[in-house]
């Protein structure tokens, strides 16, 4: 038997989480370094997955999942411990493994105890252990090819996320005394309840799927085809699955937990939410909704596209009106998730490739913007845009990186998100021109909210409170520089990514039996 690479990629951060949690209270710094090393080693394993992955592989009997592992787990429920990846999964595993070290590094001091409390209270160890636990569960949910296995990690990751949001907030207003923020625990509870409710609805659909299919294995489906389902059954099950993913993604009108959660969480945790955990929702739409319920997906497409369109415009409009930097990024993310979902359900290969690239690029660009915003907020101790002004004169490097992050968010050509947004729009336009045209206004609004944010915080007269603001430190530069480099690299040369993603998208397209609409005019060669 070959080395279980996929299991190892998930098991390493899981074990690392346990080890980090077990570090004695006094050895805080050791816990941080341990967590960082574990996350880097996980990145190494993810790279190994990427190297071993062959984009054009087609296995026996049409099973297109690679690096598969399969063991019996709970035979009574028909549940198998079954892992495997396709191009989309590999790309997102790589994204996750890539971002976690930056999240850890950016949150280096976020969980330092303010005073030495009782020796048993170990927030630092907890913080980093929870981040690694989330990483393990997210990676497993990208790898699972068993519906039940996926569901377990989809739900279980809520618990560490919940503690990360509720247990660790901004250090802004504390004045040496750790004040329990009611806002923060509200945000954490809202996050959990929304997602738990979505997940439980999905549980009913998972059970229903089992009753219909008699097993949970996607690999079996890839080999033997889908089980027969009555049209109405398929639609109900689709709705059950889609509801959970739409809460997670989040899609309007199920999005309201995200601004609370991102606003109250520390910047690294906010990145974890929007750049990593939420991607499981959009990924699952591609993997489960489209592959298990192709007919129902086509049936629901018009409604979902309209909801996605509303998300794009509504998220962007609310972002324009925000006074809080982190909430602004949250609403911008809602707008971007609208693009991703639109790309997925446009049912064209450009749209779906674009959506997958979008997931990766949005992860990187939001991480860059949000982490720099977090550095900014930690310096001034305020999340309000109005409290800043003229920062670029005081901290030019910080302002510059913030600008690049902003430009990536508005999909400036030359930066990675442009490629994906363009693909999504083209893909949507070829099938649904009206929706494609309206969605384009999302870009205009994106320019508005990002540039106004930049203008208000960075330019203008220097506010007295920011006049002594230090520029980015070495640790912070180490976080930001690679992300920006990656944004530029993937913006200019997206081929490595598209090569991985495209065959998988083709597979998904053939699963839903959709062909790209033929262009009416042959493009000039």
């Amino acid at each position: 038997m070959s080395f279980p690479l996929l299991t190892a990629t998930a098991a390493l951060p899981a074990l690392g989480a346990i080890a980090t949690a077990a570090v004695p209270a006094a050895r805080r710094t050791a816990a941080k370094w341990l967590a960082l090393l574990v996350s880097l080693a996980t990145l190494g394993l993810a790279v190994a997955v990427l190297v071993r992955f062959d984009p054009d592989y087609v296995g026996p009997k049409g099973n297109f999942y690679q690096l598969t592992e399969s063991h019996s787990w709970i035979a009574d429920f028909g549940v198998r411990y079954e892992l495997g990846v396709d191009g989309i999964g590999v790309a997102l595993i790589a994204l996750t493994a890539l971002l976690i070290p930056f999240v850890i590094l950016a949150g280096w001091h976020d969980a330092d105890p303010l005073e030495t409390r009782s020796s048993r209270w170990r927030p630092t160890q907890g913080f980093f252990a929870l981040i690694l636990a989330v990483e393990a569960m997210v990676i497993l949910s990208f790898e699972a090819t068993d519906v039940f296995l996926f569901y377990i990690f989809f739900e279980a990751m809520l618990i560490p996320m919940y503690f990360l949001i509720g247990g660790f907030g901004d250090r802004a207003h504390k004045d040496g005394e750790e004040v329990a923020s009611t806002q923060r625990s509200y945000a954490a509870v809202k996050f959990l309840l929304y997602n738990l409710a979505g997940g439980l609805i999905m549980l009913a659909a998972v059970i229903g799927f089992y009753v219909v299919a008699g097993h949970f294995s996607l690999q079996t489906i890839a080999e033997d085809g889908l089980p027969d389902m009555a049209t109405s059954t398929e639609r109900w099950l689709f709705l059950g699955f889609f509801f959970a993913f739409a809460v997670k993604a989040p899609l309007w009108p199920l999005h309201t937990w995200l601004p609370n959660a991102m606003g109250e969480a520390t910047a690294p945790v906010a990145v974890l939410i929007t750049a990593v955990v939420d991607k499981v929702g959009t990924f699952a739409m591609l993997r489960f909704c489209l592959q298990l319920f192709p007919e129902a997906s086509k049936w629901a497409t018009p409604v979902i596209l309209v909801l996605a369109l509303i998300s794009i415009i509504y998220g962007a409009l609310l972002a324009v009106g925000q006074r809080d930097i982190k909430r602004l990024v949250a609403y911008a993310s809602i707008s971007h998730f609208g693009f991703i979902i639109m790309g997925i359900f446009a049912m064209t290969s450009q749209g779906q490739s674009g959506a997958t690239l979008y997931m990766v690029n949005h992860g990187i660009s939001t991480a860059a913007l949000m982490l720099v915003a977090g550095f900014l907020i930690s310096r001034r101790g305020s999340r309000l845009i109005a409290d800043y002004g003229g920062v670029q004169k005081v901290a030019p490097v910080l302002a510059g990186t913030f600008l690049i992050g902003s430009l990536a968010t508005l999909s400036l050509p030359g930066l990675a998100p442009f490629v994906s947004e363009f693909l999504v729009l083209v893909g949507t336009f070829t099938r649904y021109p009206v929706i494609g045209i309206i969605a384009t206004f999302g870009i205009v609004l994106a320019a508005l909210y990002t540039l106004v944010l930049y203008q208000r915080t960075m330019t203008g007269p220097v506010k007295p409170e920011v006049s002594a603001m230090p520029d980015l430190r070495v640790r912070e530069l180490v976080v930001v520089t690679p992300l920006i480099a990656l944004l530029i690299f993937l913006g200019v040369f997206p081929k490595p990514l598209t090569d991985i993603v495209n065959p998988a998208v083709k597979q998904t397209m053939s699963d839903v039996q959709k062909k790209d609409p033929q262009p009416e005019v042959e493009a000039a060669k």
Partner: protein
């Protein structure tokens, strides 16, 4: 046929004596129950003859040894195939020894063993007049606040009677799911109910509340028993027999006219329907299903917490076992009649328990309403009317009982000057003060909420799967919705423990003796093992899922 033989005891008493067969008792197959009841009787003798100083140790030792021996007997019976191939009806048709009976007896005995551990805990309450004291009143008969109570406390009295009472209750519970005729069912019901009423009344702290709880439990319980008995009488009038097998055969019409003397009433469907309804009502009272749940919160809150934990776990196991046997063995021919009713009961139980729990401010009341919601989830498995339904209920009961005992054991640890601090506001910030205890309690809460990788999820999935396969998709949808509602209040407690600032005069967490620690640790281990690797236990429940008829 032994069923007829038992019947002849009742109707032919006028015949010459030599016609009565000497009853044949299979002592080996009945050994678990006999060991426990025997130990309970010895416990009573210990109360009478052993000096006060050594009673506690003698009782604890006897209880643990007898329960362990009875558990060993259950295991021995199961490994010799009495749960599967050699399953049969013993004691002249009165008791069934089969898979579900043995599985539930094993669960009850383990729960009882952990119950003894929490009963015997003496390190939590502060030392009174140089004596270590447990959760029970110094002298249950003395009036609360009176001089005689003070004198009893000063003299270091302890109510060691709780141990034989517990053993009697366990003995009755072992019999209850195994009962194979209606009279045995009723006797078992009384044998386990009466000691529980008493146990509820003997709390050391908040004695008035404890006595009030006991009176409420007793009155409502007596009422429910009366219903059960009336139902039994009506069913006897319908079928002319109290034996499960005979009633089932009369219901499906394969035999007629069992008793010529009852020719006028036999076969009267009104008697069958009303009788069955009353009988089921009595059992639904014991499991705490809506609308027969009114006693649950008061009793759970007022009873001494170790008693609450034991009762919440074991009563549910025993009563659901009896309900399953009744519905699957006696009344399968009636399933078209009882299924819609049970659908309705399951739905209101799930929703009612979950919704009312939201407003609770006392941790014990909250767990009480949560237990009501769980009764609803288990009913979802009951109405599946399939082999999967039985095994999923068995699994759920096993999983649930250990979470419950563990959770209530944690409740006993959180104390302030007035004893256990059960008001939720006092739990604020517990996670900061005692991270380990709070984390353990959080694990139990997550299991109650049915989060994946805990036993609660595996159990919930099992019953919902069985219900969905049985065509009860609507139940599953209501089930997940009420799970979502229920999650809210479990999460609220976690928020309180971890995200709230501890209050300056907040409760402290007492350091328990290894007894309570064992109970809690066992609960955590079972919760996680059944969550991560439930296959072995699902197999066990699956093999045990066949009733002997």
């Amino acid at each position: 046929m032994s069923a007829v033989a038992v019947h002849s005891l009742w109707t032919m008493a006028a015949d010459p004596i030599d016609k009565i067969d000497a009853p044949k008792i299979e002592y080996g197959q009945l050994s678990p129950t006999l060991i426990v009841i025997g130990a309970a009787i010895i416990g009573v003798l210990i109360e009478a003859f052993v000096p006060r100083k050594s009673r506690y140790y003698a009782q604890v030792f006897l209880s643990i040894v007898s329960l362990a021996a009875a558990f060993a007997a259950v295991i021995a019976l199961a490994t010799r195939g009495y749960g599967t191939t050699k399953a049969g009806i013993v004691a002249m048709g009165a008791i069934a020894v089969d898979g579900p009976a043995l599985f539930l007896q094993g669960t009850i005995l383990l729960a009882g063993l952990l119950g003894v551990f929490t009963f015997a805990e003496r390190r939590l309450d502060p030392v009174a007049h140089g004596n270590q004291v447990d959760s029970f009143a110094a002298q249950a008969a003395s009036v609360p606040g009176s001089d005689s109570e003070k004198a009893a406390v000063k003299a270091g009295f302890t109510t060691t009677e709780v141990f034989p009472l517990l053993l009697f209750a366990i003995g009755g519970m072992l019999l209850f799911p195994a009962a194979n005729d209606l009279l045995t069912l009723f006797i078992a019901l009384e044998v386990f109910s009466l000691p529980l009423y008493l146990l509820c009344a003997v709390a050391r702290r908040k004695r008035i509340m404890s006595q009030e709880a006991a009176v409420k439990y007793f009155l409502l319980g007596a009422f429910a028993s009366a219903f059960t008995l009336f139902g039994i009488a009506l069913l006897y009038g319908y079928a002319g027999s109290v034996s499960y097998a005979t009633i089932a055969q009369v219901v499906d019409g394969s035999i007629e006219n069992v008793t010529p003397a009852l020719a006028e009433t036999m076969g009267n469907d009104a008697l069958l329907l009303i009788g069955a309804a009353m009988l089921v009502m009595g059992l639904l009272f014991k499991v705490g299903a809506v609308p027969f749940h009114m006693w649950t919160p008061d009793v759970y809150q007022g009873a001494p917490t170790p008693v609450t934990g034991f009762m919440a776990a074991a009563t549910k196991v025993a009563a659901f076992g009896a309900l399953l046997r009744l519905l699957y063995v006696v009344l399968p021919g009636l399933s078209w009649d009882w299924r819609p009713v049970m659908w309705a009961v399951a739905i209101v139980t799930m929703l009612g328990g979950a919704i009312v729990a939201i407003t609770q401010t006392d941790i014990k009341r909250l767990l009480a309403y949560s237990s009501i919601a769980h009764a609803g989830f288990i009913l979802a498995g009951v109405i599946a009317t399939s082999a999967d339904g039985i095994s999923s209920v068995l699994f759920y009961l096993g999983a649930y009982s250990f979470v419950t005992i563990g959770a209530f054991a944690v409740v006993t640890l959180v104390r302030d000057a007035g004893g256990e601090a059960t008001h939720l506001s006092k739990w604020a910030g517990l996670g900061r003060r005692s991270p380990l205890v709070a984390a353990v309690f959080a694990v139990f809460l997550l299991a109650f909420a049915g989060i994946p990788l805990t036993s609660g999820f595996a159990g919930k999935f099992a019953v919902f799967k069985a219900a969905a396969e049985g065509g009860a998709g609507a139940i599953v949808v209501v089930g997940v919705i009420s799970s979502a509602i229920a999650a809210f209040f479990y999460i609220r407690v976690i928020v309180l423990m971890f995200f709230s600032e501890p209050k300056p005069e907040g409760p402290t967490v007492a350091v328990p003796s290894p007894l309570t620690m064992t109970a809690i640790a066992f609960g955590v281990v079972v919760t996680l093992v059944l969550g991560v690797a439930p296959q072995y236990f699902l197999d066990l429940a699956g093999q045990a899922g066949v009733f002997v008829r």
